[in-house]
């Protein structure tokens, strides 16, 4: 216990650091509430499947019904973070960036008989871009301006979930307190003498609750095989948000400034659209697992302060397979779980008549480490993929991600039979 508490503290500080750092990265994050997380959670190396996944080693916070699969006498602590290296290119130039993101910090334990709970922090979306362009003034043939657009922030949530098991049926719900700031800045600097340049800062602060329900149903197909079906969903919800807009223009000669806008929309909201994921997980001989997921989010109804952002619906399909050679095998490598997966995403973004899609393959392992009175599962997942395209002047991002997922479980609630 003395050793583990500093580790909790370290994880907490680290995840806070990841939440708060300036992650300048993909320009695709400039849209809406930022880049939605395509693949994270404890099953990243299985393509990010989650709807029907349940086991007693990982806190599957993406489907609250899965909490009932946890051990009844253990306290769970889980920490995950993704590091991403991205090669970014257009048809005429390329660059690269690195970010750390998608941190999550979760805890779970049984409350009473078949009632379990989990709580923690997660990142829901991420914004980080800083773009500087030299463009010709529309309508002019020899005059230019500098356009700098940047943004940072994203949405996080603190959730508290409960789940209850009725035989093979598990029901759960996560109550998430979604919060975060999205700040988008625009600087327009005409490169013409004696003019004004524009500084504009648009800040959206979000603070509201979202409820995510989950259902899982497990059935034994044979003595050696088991099928689990699951779904998790949240209904469309209007999140209270406050929008501040400050903009002013500055005289390039005298540097005197003039306020253009200083607005606060107190009663605005951002819609968090209906999202559902459904899937299956098939276990054979406690050795093989095959799982598949489909996720849908009705991003076409996404609105910011009443304005339709004209996005498409979000679709994701994922599949994964894992092999556990021998859960109680003699050798370390036999006790590891080896995962392989793939996913495809049709994002909500459509630019220049091109859908921004993402395709990825994943692989990794989950390695159990046994320490006295506690178990630790170290998950390492690799995710290689492509986001976007170079067509029509757009960006293609080839990324390599590594996600570390560390799950502890301790016997906090075990009663000693012999003192």
């Amino acid at each position: 216990m003395k050793k583990i508490i500093p580790l909790y503290l370290l994880c907490f500080l680290f995840s806070w650091q990841v939440f708060s750092q300036n992650n300048t990265g993909t320009p695709y994050s400039m849209y809406g509430i930022g880049l939605l997380q395509d693949n994270y959670g404890p099953y990243t190396s299985l393509g990010g499947v989650s709807a029907a996944m349940r086991d007693n080693n990982n806190i599957n916070f993406l489907n609250p019904a899965s909490y009932t699969a946890l051990d009844s006498n253990r306290f769970y602590f889980q920490f995950g973070v993704t590091g991403e290296y991205v090669h970014i290119s257009t048809h005429k130039e390329n660059s690269s960036y690195r970010v750390a993101q998608n941190a999550s910090l979760n805890m779970a334990f049984r409350i009473y008989k078949n009632l379990f709970t989990s709580l923690g922090f997660n990142q829901r979306s991420d914004i980080g871009y800083d773009l500087y362009y030299y463009k010709m003034i529309n309508g002019s043939d020899n005059e230019y301006y500098n356009q700098q657009i940047s943004g940072e922030g994203g949405l996080n949530d603190f959730y508290l979930g409960v789940a209850y098991r009725f035989g093979n049926l598990s029901l759960g719900v996560n109550t998430s307190l979604v919060f975060g700031n999205i700040e988008k800045r625009v600087n327009l600097i005409p490169l013409i003498s004696d003019s004004y340049y524009i500084n504009s800062r648009n800040k959206i602060a979000v603070f509201d609750a979202i409820f995510t329900a989950g259902i899982q149903y497990g059935m034994a197909l044979s003595p050696k095989s088991k099928l689990t079906l699951g779904t998790a969903f949240n209904f469309s919800s209007k999140m209270n948000a406050r929008k501040d807009l400050e903009s002013y223009k500055v005289n390039t000669s005298t540097q005197s400034s003039e306020t253009l806008d200083n607005e606060r929309l107190h009663n605005g909201n951002i819609s968090y659209p209906f999202r559902i994921s459904g899937g299956f997980a098939y276990d054979y001989k406690d050795k093989w697992t095959v799982a598949g997921d489909y996720t849908f989010q009705e991003m076409s109804s996404y609105k910011e302060f009443g304005e339709d952002q004209e996005y498409n619906d979000y679709h994701k399909a994922a599949i994964g397979v894992s092999l556990l050679p021998a859960r109680y095998g003699r050798y370390w490598w036999q006790r590891n779980k080896y995962n392989l997966g793939a996913y495809a995403v049709r994002s909500q973004i459509e630019l220049n008549n091109v859908h921004i899609n993402t395709y990825g393959v994943t692989f990794g392992t989950q390695m159990p480490v046994y320490i006295s009175n506690r178990e630790l599962l170290l998950g390492v997942a690799f995710d290689l993929g492509i986001r976007g395209t170079e067509k029509n002047g757009l960006i293609q991002e080839k990324y390599a991600k590594i996600r570390l997922n560390i799950a502890f479980k301790e016997g906090w609630f075990m009663k000693r039979k012999i003192d």
């Binding site: 370290l10 690195r98 524009i198 806008d261 002047g393 960006i395």
Partner: protein, 435 residues
């Protein structure tokens, strides 16, 4: 524990110094941008100022230049410029009984400015005024239209081929009777010589009148050391000089009388300041679309009614507004373009209300933008950003949007430079859409 700490530190260092700032320009969908919208200022016309000050009144300042001559400009017609000035005894060699009068001359110092045909003999006459010019009762100014009577018999006349080497020695021999009269007054230290005020009242002043057949006008410095009536006399050994020059104390009597007769040009239609000759109405053979003109001395200015920018999108603002005037190519080979144009607030009656200024108090001016090897692209640009922003925010912008572009009013009598425009003026508005 150590291993985990190491892993965390590695990841913590992961995100740093990303630079993707110029990637994906086409990604932006142009939600924010700067655009240029050009509006033709269709309501543009030439006006002719009825009168404008050509003196400095009792401000203590002095005119730098005076213009004299007569010219027939193919664009604006006949223009005649007559300078008037008073003189006071300025001193020189003392005169006593041993000195003998030789002659009296009028001398001016050419300042290098000349317009017109310089290969014709020019004739000038110097006349003595019969009374002092009468200052405007409200502001003490004298105007281009101020008439001051003078003795029809000239004190002297002069013919000159207006080349620089001759103009630098511009000198009119005057009537000896005037010379002897002044010689005696100096010799006996008359009360008129001792007191400049008395002398001004006695002598009144002079005007230099060009012959109507002259073909050019030229400038000369108006300073005391540049204009003089000189008494030339001698003793047994030396030739000596005594001078009468303008004095800054009586500068209010120095002015320019100007006359323009636009007969034979479209501008003959302008008989009073309230009249406009629209750009398109000035079209004639060789001037396809129309014409606008502003010129010193002749008093022409360009009047415009600016289009008021529509309110447009909420998050759209004007970052620059400018008026663009393109000089007619080849129109300034003989008569140069003005160095600076001023912008004045006006009204439907074409009054020159006040100079439009920038927030720092300086006047809004237009300067010539030259394009190397592309004379057709040369243009005067007048930056009116602050004025125009204020105008567009005004509730009654549509009644305040009258402006006049002119050579500076206070230099109207100091230069014959001309801007002739044969393309409709353009209002360039640069908008920024930032949200």
């Amino acid at each position: 524990m150590k291993n985990f700490s190491f892993i965390f530190c590695l990841i913590l260092c992961w995100a740093c110094n990303n630079d993707v700032t110029s990637i994906g320009q086409d990604l932006l969908n142009d939600d924010s941008y700067v655009e240029l919208v050009k509006y033709n200022i269709e309501n543009s016309s030439t006006i002719k100022l009825d009168s404008f000050p050509t003196s400095t009144a009792k401000t203590g300042s002095e005119l730098y230049n005076l213009i004299v001559g007569a010219i027939k400009d193919p664009v604006t017609g006949f223009t005649n410029a007559q300078p008037y000035f008073s003189l006071v005894p300025a001193g020189g060699d003392p005169i006593n009984s041993i000195h003998r009068f030789d002659s009296i001359t009028f001398n001016i110092k050419y300042n290098g400015q000349i317009w017109g045909d310089t290969n014709q003999i020019q004739t000038f006459h110097l006349h003595q005024l019969t009374r002092l010019p009468i200052l405007h009762e409200q502001n003490d100014f004298l105007y281009n239209t101020t008439v001051t009577p003078y003795n029809p018999t000239p004190l002297g006349s002069y013919q000159i081929l207006p080349h620089r080497r001759h103009l630098d020695k511009f000198c009119i021999r005057l009537d000896d009777s005037l010379g002897l009269e002044l010689f005696d007054k100096v010799k006996y230290n008359d009360e008129y010589i001792k007191n400049a005020h008395y002398f001004v009242q006695y002598f009144k002043g002079v005007t230099l009148i060009p012959d109507n057949n002259n073909t050019c006008i030229f400038g000369f410095a108006a300073a005391a050391d540049s204009i003089s009536i000189q008494l030339h006399f001698h003793d047994a050994e030396n030739e000596k000089v005594y001078k009468f020059t303008p004095s800054i104390a009586y500068n209010e009597y120095t002015y320019e009388k100007l006359h323009n007769d636009a007969a034979g040009t479209p501008y003959a239609a302008l008989t009073k300041q309230t009249e406009n000759l629209l750009f398109y109405e000035a079209a004639r053979p060789g001037i396809s679309y129309g014409q606008l003109v502003t010129q010193g001395l002749s008093g022409y200015a360009i009047k415009m009614r600016l289009p008021v920018a529509p309110a447009g999108d909420k998050y759209k603002t004007i970052v620059k507004a400018e008026i663009e005037l393109r000089p007619q190519p080849s129109s300034y080979k003989e008569i140069k373009l003005p160095e600076t144009l001023y912008l004045y607030q006006s009204n439907p009656d074409n009054d020159l209300i006040s100079a439009i200024t920038k927030p720092d108090g300086n006047a809004v001016t237009g300067t010539l933008i030259r394009e190397e090897n592309r004379p057709e692209e040369e243009r005067f640009v007048i930056n009116i950003t602050d004025y125009y922003n204020t105008l567009c925010q005004s509730n009654d912008a549509d009644t305040k949007n009258y402006v006049i572009v002119s050579v500076p009013a206070d230099l109207m009598s100091g230069s014959f430079n001309r801007l002739t425009v044969d393309r409709i003026p353009v209002l360039n508005i640069y908008y920024a859409l930032y949200e």
